[in-house]
Chain length 354, copies 2
């Protein structure tokens, strides 16, 4: 393992995020101009612009740039920031298709892409079809962002390998999630497998690896980053699952009933179903996954999650994984500013309310 | 423009097609094995295998390899064949998503991916969601086929530029198609714009360019290939539109009523609507795009297409474009076997019954 050189400047995450956003907007502005020139529809770039400006934590792009810093990347980071922007564009693809599959009406406090088009045209199927295509375009454009970033060939080849693996993992993760039998499952290991593919690798590990490969990371250092990334990614998703049931809609930007109505298969629900007595199990079977669940029903589910201790166990699982991530971070002499920023992002991912 | 060297061996298109198929099957077999090893769902690679073995003309992969031959590509064509396979995998992505958007029940004489899963699980939305993901995976895997083909970096970079442009064009083409107002349009130029993006560039021009770039084609030769490709691509789609209305389902593998029920915006219908008298226009407005159109209704539409001369005009347009493509082919001293194969494929694309 190489010991990367230290530099002392702290990393300004807010400034970094705003550079990623600028890269995205400049790219989409250029797409809008060239669509105009060719008499092509402007809705596609406009929809992606709206989607990307509506919010988002930019966790993946930030982790990408931090992966580069962690391995000792220095000097010009323009191509790294553009790669980070490509990851955010890829994430837009995932979310737009995910919202179609989950039939979600809102995301980040605004109508989802398919709903917004369906409402504008008064036509549900048209909204779905257009959103499939807009998602497809986000995927195509995320590649274009990558390929036009100016990476030297050996780095682009390494980066493409990480990206190709990442895409396969997240699509398999979604597929696993989709095919999990409906109704509360009691197998929380199955729910954890979904989390690993859909979130831990996709949200934390692969973005770090993308940045690391752009600073020519060796395999030992890549593996060390995974030891930080995977527990943190699991903790991030477990927090997400708790927020889906206990979060305040004003903070999360999505209705608190969605996850329960959809019957989302979480570790939280699996643990509760495992431990439930007959009456509690019957309540879960009856209420979870019903489209017309109301606030009172949600409160009754939450009571089961609390009294079975499932809620507390998930909090414990988050704390354990968070500690593992920090231990893994401390085990490697990363450049101090990178380590500090990774520590900060870990806290933000695990302690967030939105 | 370079004058490529001549070689005398004829190109065996059937053998080429079978090598493309082998590349696809080997790739998917490897994906199935690694999914087994990781306890990931086997349905994704299985669905793509079924889809790809159900038929298809393999026009795009053949054109890709012929583009390489046309520019004088010689010796080892393994990487070119793998690139050709990547184009076919990309095409699977397009068709799987297209079938969702068109709500098509059959393709190549078999149930579409979304219908087949919907029927197996007794759940329409699940079928749609799974097919969105299987399409997404086909796109991701088409890239993996490209990136693992063993291209030297400068060729891969050129190839990626063509692929990135091609993906944007076909997605914009689909979007244009989707957003064309319902009911018969009279603007056949608008229908031609859809054809140019959705078919002429995507099906003929870009596959040829992909192959050409792998033999280091110069811009003049690339432009010369476009002069063959674009009229041929338009002729191909115009033939497709005729087959959609006049074809025999036993040949085409899809119900002859689908295009008319869906109200697909074709040059054929636009010309008929332009020229229709009041009664004919009323008949088109009433019958085209109605989901319960029957064989008798279709026959009445066909009568309007015939008596307005729209059918004959489209046949003329096909003939003109076919002649343009052949003239463009003759204008360049391509290696004889490549020219012969391109001439053969042009005839096959334009004179086909399926």
């Amino acid at each position: 393992m190489t010991a990367p050189s230290l530099d002392a400047q702290p990393i300004d995450l807010a400034a970094l995020q705003s550079r990623v956003d600028t890269a995205l907007h400049d790219f989409l502005d250029a797409k809008t101009r060239s669509a105009k020139d060719q008499c092509l529809p402007l809705d596609v770039s406009a929809a992606l612009r709206d989607f990307l400006t509506a919010g988002g934590k930019r966790l993946r792009p930030l982790l990408c740039v931090l992966g580069w810093h962690a391995v000792g990347g220095q000097d010009d980071d323009t191509a790294v920031v553009r790669t980070a922007a490509a990851l955010e564009m890829f994430h837009a693809f995932c979310l737009i298709h995910d919202d179609i599959m989950d039939n979600s009406a809102t995301r980040r406090g605004r109508p989802t892409v398919h709903r917004s088009i369906a409402v504008r045209h008064g036509h549900d199927r048209l909204g779905t079809s257009a959103a499939i295509l807009i998602g497809d375009m986000a995927l195509a454009w995320s590649d274009e962002l990558l390929h036009s970033a100016g990476h030297p060939p050996h780095r682009l080849a390494g980066l493409r390998r990480v990206i190709d693996v990442m895409r396969q993992e997240v699509i398999y993760g979604q597929y696993l999630d989709l095919m999990t039998p409906l109704g509360p499952i009691t197998d929380h290991e199955a729910a954890l497998q979904v989390i690993r593919f859909k979130t831990a690798k996709y949200t934390v590990e692969r973005p770090l690896h993308c940045g690391a490969i752009l600073a020519d990371a060796d395999p030992d250092l890549t593996a060390a980053l995974s030891r930080y990334a995977l527990p943190l990614g699991e903790a991030f998703q477990l927090r997400d699952d708790l927020l889906g049931v206990y979060g305040r809609p004003d903070d999360t930007g999505k209705p608190v009933l969605d996850d329960l109505r959809e019957g989302k298969q979480t570790v939280l629900l699996a643990l509760a179903a495992q431990r439930a007595n007959t009456a509690q199990r019957k309540l879960l079977d009856t209420l979870v996954g019903t489209a017309d669940l109301d606030l009172d029903g949600a409160a009754r589910i939450r009571a089961v999650l609390d009294t079975t201790g499932a809620h507390a166990t998930v909090e414990d699982m988050i704390a354990t994984r968070y500690a593992q991530a920090l231990t893994a971070l401390d085990a490697v002499p990363y450049p101090k500013p990178a380590a500090a920023a990774l520590r900060h992002l870990a806290a933000r991912a695990v302690e967030r309310t939105s």
